[in-house]
């Protein structure tokens, strides 16, 4: 067993789960705002109101009998994604990349029939993936075509970027690359690789998989050092805008870079995980406390992003 002493963790400024729950989520996140982010459909509609770009909505399946119309709705489409609105941790998400005859092909390469998809839809509506098993709705979205320079770093799934937004300031970011182990999903605990990103530049810092440092992608073998995120500032501004939209003081914004549409908001998370700190090789606490200690907060997303890019620039500060 290998352990690290609490003192050393404190020195790194590592935010732990109890503290995150008590001092940040409970204090800065209003309970009433949780349904906005726990329900992807609500998030999507809210994002549209605040001019935050999200993947285009094709269909919302709310009732079992509407599943019959699903075939017609996707008849013209080549690829799309199905998500349970109240699913968490990427559970129940089906990504169908293209058609092959009557069947669809999953991102993983597996062929699935429309009947199977209909069964999955039925499961989603019954609440299989929602918290507490409450009835749910299924969202059918346009498939994201990932920006190729980023896509080649990931195995199958679309890489997404998790940005921790604290009181509207982007404080830490991480690129999540799916792997064979994670079954094309971008969830760290399922085995995706997390690459910490410099808030100032969008350049990679460290990478972890299963909480252990890695230096190249386990499946593609690509070195992470040549990763760069296009339109980085714009992405941070989009994430920062979610603060005004939801009022959540401490959240994780999951973004993707679409080849044609640029930065899109995938979903928001009111209880973002802690693994981002390991991908960045630094704790969140110093940055969070820095923002908490600000005498005057910046009122527009652009100003906040400018401030964060300046304050958390690794080339001249250690925050």
């Amino acid at each position: 067993m290998r352990w690290i002493s609490p003192r050393r963790l404190n020195r790194v400024g590592l935010l732990n789960m109890n503290r995150r729950n008590v001092d940040y989520i409970a204090r800065y996140n209003d309970r009433s705002a949780f349904p906005l982010v726990d329900n992807k459909l609500k998030t999507k509609l809210l994002a549209q109101d605040h001019e935050i770009a999200t993947p285009a909505l094709i269909q919302v399946v709310t009732q079992q009998h509407e599943i019959r119309h699903f075939r017609e709705a996707v008849a013209e489409l080549d690829g799309f994604a199905i998500k349970p609105a109240k699913g968490s941790g990427g559970k129940g998400i089906i990504v169908l990349s293209h058609r092959e005859g009557d069947d669809f092909v999953k991102a993983s390469g597996a062929r699935v029939s429309v009947t199977t998809i209909e069964r999955d839809l039925s499961n989603i509506l019954a609440g299989l993936y929602s918290l507490g098993g409450t009835p749910d709705v299924a969202i059918v979205e346009k498939l994201i075509r990932c920006e190729p320079s980023l896509a080649r770093h990931s195995y199958q799934g679309v890489p997404d970027i998790r940005i921790i937004v604290f009181k509207g300031y982007p404080v830490m970011a991480m690129l999540r690359l799916s792997t064979q182990a994670s079954d094309g999903k971008a969830n760290l605990h399922q085995g995706a690789v997390g690459v910490g990103l410099d808030i100032a530049t969008g350049k990679p810092l460290n990478a972890v998989q299963f909480n252990r440092p890695v230096y190249e992608h386990p499946d593609t073998g690509k070195d992470f050092s040549d990763i760069s995120i296009e339109d980085w500032r714009n992405m941070l501004v989009t994430a920062s805008r979610c603060y005004e939209a939801t009022g959540l003081g401490y959240m994780g914004a999951d973004m993707v870079v679409d080849a044609s549409e640029g930065p899109l908001l995938l979903e928001l998370n009111a209880r973002p995980g802690l693994a981002i700190q390991m991908a960045n090789g630094r704790g969140l606490l110093p940055r969070l406390q820095h923002i908490e200690g600000l005498k005057r907060v910046h009122l527009t997303p652009e100003k906040r992003v400018n401030y964060a890019m300046e304050a958390f620039d690794l080339s001249h500060q250690l925050l």
């Binding site: 109890n18 008590v22 039925s122």
Partner: protein
């Protein structure tokens, strides 16, 4: 910190309230903190013998009332054919036996149960007693006056005067005055009379030395002197002040011990026995009589008591779960599922419970994999699973019984719906995260359940939760306190081990 002050203050209040309530009940009612604590109880039996003359008989025996150092628990009289009642008068308590006609040797019994208790306050007389007027005839008067004079010169208080007087009377080389007085008087009577003569209120009391399994014991006289506030007891032989711990004062202020009308040759003798009674039973019996037991769960019918015994264990389970999840960081499947499983373990005992639980969940997982391929709606799938779980438990019970194990039968203690949900959750976990996560969470849940079981099954825990329900305030305080813990979980020290590299 100051923002949190009212919160910590409230928690401190909760904990203090819980502990002080429990201590209060411990001290005032004697509810023991430890399990099976034993207290010595003295069973003293007075036996009255006399010969009846064939006429109506009335026997009146003085009964001890608030003897110093002892608390009375129970009393009863055994006397064939006699009517018995206890008569309370201002100064004394007497037991009276009566019968219309009796002849020949008669024996009456009265027994009392006493427990040693240093807190019993001695009887304080309503009005301060006065020294009795004593008249001596010459030449005793001169001798007595002379002796009192000498004792008074060497003393300052009633106590020291008593000691000096006893010393003079007990001297190995008595002078003429002393010898004269001793020759014509009973010794204890003499001391009492001389004290009263000197203006010090004094009386004799009868005491009984308590020794285990003694029979035919007689009362021994003790001297009591009033010092202006209370009656002090002296050993008339040695002048030693205070009552030895093993002496029960049977008679104090009352003038007579035994009165028999319609009989002759009466005598009283005592036998005694030392018993040990669980302190809990003792306090229960007492609180029932004192009416102070209202706060006790023992007032409830036995059936409800049994239910409360289980219910009051739950907070401990919750405490263990909170500790395991917040401080240790064990992952469990379902927050309080482990507590419910632990409650079932309490009823089944550990090993059979574990076997039954693992058997049911494994069989359930097998069947669930078939249900999964049927493509059912969630609600009907869970419902089907509940029925399957009931089938499994029934099957296990029957098979177990046929094979001669009682183990099978205990399966029924597990909450069926919880089992069904556990199976469902495990199954989904298996499909989504793989068998490894199922093992981690399953083992975590079982570990927490076993820990909770060990805590809840400890005799001390069962005893304290039921007899001191107010201690749950302390549990509540601890749980609230843990809800405020922002430090690292033990598991996080391992999880974040790789951060070591970044510690500059």
């Amino acid at each position: 910190m100051s923002r949190r002050f009212p919160f910590y203050f409230a928690i401190a209040l909760l904990i203090i309230a819980g502990i002080s309530l429990a201590s209060f009940r411990h001290i005032s009612l004697g509810v023991p903190f430890a399990v099976g604590e034993q207290r010595p109880v003295w069973m003293v039996e007075a036996r009255v013998d006399f010969v009846a003359l064939g006429n109506p008989v009335l026997v009146s025996l003085h009964l001890p009332e608030r003897p110093p150092g002892f608390r009375q628990l129970t009393e009863q009289a055994a006397s064939p054919g006699y009517g018995f009642s206890i008569i309370q008068r201002s100064q004394e308590r007497r037991g009276e036996w009566s019968i219309r006609q009796a002849s020949g040797p008669q024996t009456l019994y009265y027994s009392i149960q006493l427990v040693a208790d240093g807190n019993v306050q001695p009887l304080i007389p309503d009005t301060p007693p006065l020294a009795e007027a004593v008249f001596w005839e010459e030449p005793q008067a001169t001798a007595a006056r002379e002796l009192v004079q000498r004792a008074r010169q060497k003393s300052s208080t009633s106590e020291s005067f008593t000691r000096e007087l006893i010393k003079l009377l007990q001297s190995s080389d008595p002078d003429q005055n002393t010898a004269l007085l001793l020759a014509s008087n009973e010794y204890v009577d003499l001391v009492t009379r001389m004290l009263n003569y000197a203006g010090v209120p004094a009386q004799t009391a009868d005491g009984l030395k308590l020794e285990d399994a003694r029979r035919r014991q007689m009362l021994r006289p003790f001297l009591q002197v009033y010092n202006g506030r209370e009656w002090l007891t002296f050993n008339p032989e040695t002048g030693e002040q205070g009552l030895p711990g093993d002496v029960l004062l049977w008679r104090q202020t009352a003038p007579s011990l035994l009165d028999v009308m319609g009989g002759t040759q009466s005598s009283v003798s005592f036998s005694m026995l030392r018993q040990t009674v669980p302190a809990l039973q003792l306090s229960r019996e007492e609180s029932e009589r004192q009416g102070l037991g209202l706060m006790s769960l023992y007032q409830l019918p036995i059936e409800e008591q049994g239910m409360f015994r289980m219910l009051l264990l739950l907070p401990l389970g919750a405490l263990v779960v909170a500790f395991m999840r917040i401080i240790i960081g064990v992952r469990t499947s379902g927050t309080f599922m482990p507590v419910l499983i632990a409650i079932a373990f309490v009823q089944t005992s550990l090993v059979p419970g574990l076997i039954a639980f693992i058997a049911v969940v494994s069989l359930g997982l097998l069947m669930r994999s078939y249900l999964s391929s049927l493509n059912l709606l969630l609600v009907s799938r869970i419902s089907a699973l509940i029925i399957l779980v009931i089938f499994i438990t029934t099957g296990l019970s029957i098979v177990g019984y046929q094979m001669g194990f009682n183990t099978g039968m205990t399966v029924t203690f597990f909450p069926m719906v919880i089992l069904a949900w556990t199976i469902e959750r495990m199954s989904i976990l298996w499909e989504e995260e793989g068998p490894h996560e199922v093992m981690v969470q399953g083992a975590g849940s079982l570990f927490v359940a076993v820990m909770a079981y060990l805590v809840m099954d400890a005799p001390l825990a069962r005893h304290l939760t039921f007899n001191f329900p107010e201690l749950h305030l302390v549990v509540l305080g601890l749980i609230l306190l843990m809800g405020n813990y922002t430090g690292y979980k033990l598991s996080e020290l391992r999880r974040f081990y790789p951060m070591k590299v970044y510690d500059r």
